[in-house]
């Protein structure tokens, strides 16, 4: 019994279609509210964590233990005058941060969150092709960065955008190949040995994932995790930002809340990437005991992954763009292909 049907039953006096619609809407709002709140906590944790690593104290002035610091920052960003560059392409300039932000938000609706004791299954989108859908939406996200970069006609932004495009091209192919290996492995059921019909949906993959695929395909886990770091573009792959060389890269000319939206996009991607890695490779909401609290298991995995991602962020220098492109094509892609071939052998012979 999942949350959607429960809501549907409560609103059943409105008729079948209207109650489904309202139930879907409410659940979406609930999920997005959860994401927003956990996101604020995430950024707070990041800032404290970063401060501890760097021998600082971190936010401790606004609210108890600085908990309200992010809200204060958001209010400050909203209150700022938005300075528009002169030679801009107006439409592209204004729509770019919204594209980045929206693609992150929509991605969070697609993720299967697993069950939580009373509420049942929290998954919002019940579709057979959510895997394709989420990577389709994620490929919209770079469009926001590219538009934001080239619409301002700033040299820094254009150079940053060029780097960003080169980066995207070189890691997305290995990323999708490693996902393909997941689809291959999950297309045959562990329990019955027969083929499963919903191996293209995230929920179907996780249901079938009794042994985490990260144990079966460690290569794929590595490739996908690196790709997710590159997708979120933080150090060592923050090439489109490159704050010490190109000031702020593709977002140089943005100020105020427009910049804030890009910032949310970055942190949202760290969060979303951790969700995807834990869903596809670490068993998702499957845990050692019954999946009554699957949501909690998922969150624990995500938090550990986010902390690992932050540790990488804070301890490595930035790669040079030509090195990264070489890394993408000469190391990641062959590794991903080897992983794919291995997955094929695994499905045909070992199982």
């Amino acid at each position: 019994m999942n949350l959607l049907f429960k809501l549907h039953q409560w609103f059943s006096f409105l008729g079948n279609y209207a109650s489904y619609g309202i139930a879907y809407l409410i659940e979406t709002i609930v999920v997005l509210a959860f994401v927003a709140i956990s996101f604020i906590i995430l950024i707070y944790v990041f800032r404290k964590y970063m401060a501890r690593i760097q021998l600082r104290i971190g936010p401790n002035r606004v609210g108890k233990f600085g908990l309200l610091q992010l809200i204060a920052d958001a209010l400050k960003l909203m209150g700022k005058e938005s300075i528009l560059p002169k030679g801009r392409d107006d439409m592209a300039y204004k729509i770019a941060p919204i594209i980045t932000m929206m693609s992150i938000m929509v991605s969070f609706i697609i993720i299967p969150y697993g069950g939580l004791y009373y509420f049942g299954n929290l998954t919002t989108t019940h579709s057979d092709i959510t895997l394709i859908l989420i990577f389709g939406i994620l490929s919209i996200m770079p469009i926001g960065e590219v538009l934001g970069g080239i619409s301002t006609r700033s040299n820094y932004a254009i150079l940053g955008t060029l780097r960003g495009i080169a980066k995207d091209v070189s890691f997305e192919v290995p990323m999708l190949i490693s996902v393909l290996a997941i689809v291959m492995v999950s297309s045959r059921s562990f329990v019955t040995g027969g083929s499963t019909y919903n191996s293209l949906s995230l929920a179907g993959i996780v249901t079938n994932e009794i042994i985490p695929y990260g144990i079966i395909e460690p290569l794929g886990l590595i490739v996908f995790f690196i790709s997710m770091i590159a997708r979120a573009s933080y150090s060592p792959f923050d090439l489109s930002e490159s704050d010490s060389e190109l000031i702020s890269g593709s977002t140089t000319e943005y100020g105020g809340m427009r910049f804030g939206l890009f910032y949310i996009g970055l942190f949202g991607m760290v969060y979303l990437g951790s969700f995807l890695v834990s869903l596809l490779y670490l068993g998702g909401y499957n845990g050692p005991v019954s999946s009554y609290f699957g949501f909690i298991f998922l969150l624990i995995k995500v938090i550990i992954l986010v902390l690992i991602a932050f540790l990488i962020w804070l301890s490595l220098p930035r790669m040079r763009i030509d090195r990264f492109v070489q890394f993408g094509w000469k190391y990641l892609l062959p590794l991903a292909v080897i992983n794919l071939i291995y997955a094929g052998f695994f499905v045909l012979y070992i199982r």
């Binding site: 970063m50 690593i53 760097q54 021998l55 600082r56 040299n155 820094y156 254009i158 150079l159 060029l162 780097r163 150090s235 060592p236 923050d238 490159s242 704050d243 010490s244 060389e245 190109l246 000031i247 804070l314 301890s315 490595l316 220098p317 930035r318 790669m319 040079r320 763009i321 030509d322 090195r323």
Partner: protein, 367 residues
């Protein structure tokens, strides 16, 4: 037809060490040409020195290489002491030597941390600055100033070393040895750091001679030139230390040289602390009541090994209380003028790393 882009780095830029402007002529990411514009921080220090008393000029030198202030003061005072004939006593020399080496450590820490910052590595910067803060506490204890210390005076130092300061320095050195290795490992155990630094900004020895490059840059080209060994001042001939050289000629070599020199500085400080003797800490001829009447005659040039290289000060006196002419030889200017030569064909990211590796401090470049 290649398409060229002009990119301004500076005067205000996140990774610029001070205020100067580079105009990069780019072919996509590759640098074709660099135009360096200096002079944004020109403060007329040399001319101002002619208008002030000998004792008042020390503060202008503090503000030249502001992260290596002790060395700047020392160099000026060595010249002034030559033309005024006021020799500092032995204890003052040892105190000066300890302070100068401590400040060298502080300056190297800044260089090390900001190189990490230039490469996109935030964390070592804060670790380096925490250590630097401890050195500055010692300076505050001794002189009252943190960065622009104004500690040395003509014929000695401003205040004597107390037992507390010596203990502070000993404690600092004891814990710093481990922290330095930790910081060093933070850099060196990262493959990306090697990739980013090896093979960029290569300075051939002939080129270094042509441009008058000194300091870690020339030692990384394989030439063991260090003023402390080649023309010893203070008591550098009475302590044991080595001049590290590297044959890598690139940014990585410069980094390794700087780290090794920090280890050697620790050796010098330890030996100096053992050898420091009791006695007066200033020459009575240069005491405070006489400071305004000090007259200099003749000319003198003295040089020290500062953070960026060989720093020299020329002072000429005409038997009045004010110098007739003061000139400073800045190592940072020589190192920076090499940039257009060594940075052709590099990428932007490498260029930033090369500038970070040369440690220019604009206060000293522009004066």
């Amino acid at each position: 037809m290649p398409h060229y882009t002009e990119l301004n780095i500076g005067p205000v830029h996140p990774s610029i060490h001070g205020i100067f402007n580079f105009k990069l002529i780019l072919n996509e990411e590759i640098i074709q040409d660099v135009k360096v514009t200096l002079g944004f921080l020109h403060r007329n220090a040399e001319k101002l020195s002619e208008l002030n008393l000998y004792a008042d000029n020390i503060i202008f030198f503090d503000r030249m290489n502001y992260i290596d202030a002790m060395n700047m003061e020392l160099c000026y005072l060595m010249s002034v002491e030559k033309i005024t004939g006021i020799e500092p006593p032995e204890r003052a020399q040892w105190i000066r030597m300890i302070m100068v080496e401590l400040n060298r450590l502080a300056a190297r820490l800044v260089g090390m941390g900001s190189l990490g910052l230039d490469l996109g590595m935030l964390t070592p910067f804060f670790h380096a600055f925490k250590e630097r803060e401890k050195i500055q506490r010692i300076f505050t204890e001794a002189s009252g100033g943190r960065q622009e210390v104004n500690y040395f005076s003509i014929g000695g130092v401003y205040q004597d070393f107390t037992e507390k300061i010596i203990n502070d320095i000993r404690n600092f050195i004891d814990q710093f040895k481990k922290n330095l290795e930790d910081m060093y490992n933070m850099f060196i155990h990262s493959e990306i750091f090697w990739q980013r630094n090896q093979g960029i900004g290569i300075i051939e020895p002939e080129l270094a001679f042509d441009y008058g490059v000194t300091g870690p840059a020339i030692r990384a080209s394989g030439i063991p030139y260090d003023v402390r060994k080649d023309a010893p001042y203070l008591f550098y001939d009475k302590v044991n230390f080595d001049i590290p050289i590297s044959h890598q000629k690139d940014n990585f070599g410069r980094f390794m040289i700087k780290v090794e020199e920090m280890r050697q500085s620790i050796r010098i400080i330890e030996q100096s602390l053992d050898k420091i003797n009791d006695g007066p800490f200033f020459n009575p001829q240069g005491k405070k009541s006489l400071m305004l009447r000090i007259k200099g005659n003749g000319e003198a040039f003295s040089r020290v090994e500062s953070d960026a290289g060989e720093f020299g000060v020329y002072v000429k006196g005409d038997n009045t209380t004010k110098p007739y002419r003061v000139h400073a030889r800045s190592p940072g200017l020589r190192n920076l003028s090499l940039l257009p030569v060594i940075s052709k064909g590099l990428m932007i990211a490498d260029f930033i790393a090369v500038v970070g590796g040369l440690d220019p401090v604009v206060g000293e470049v522009d004066r």
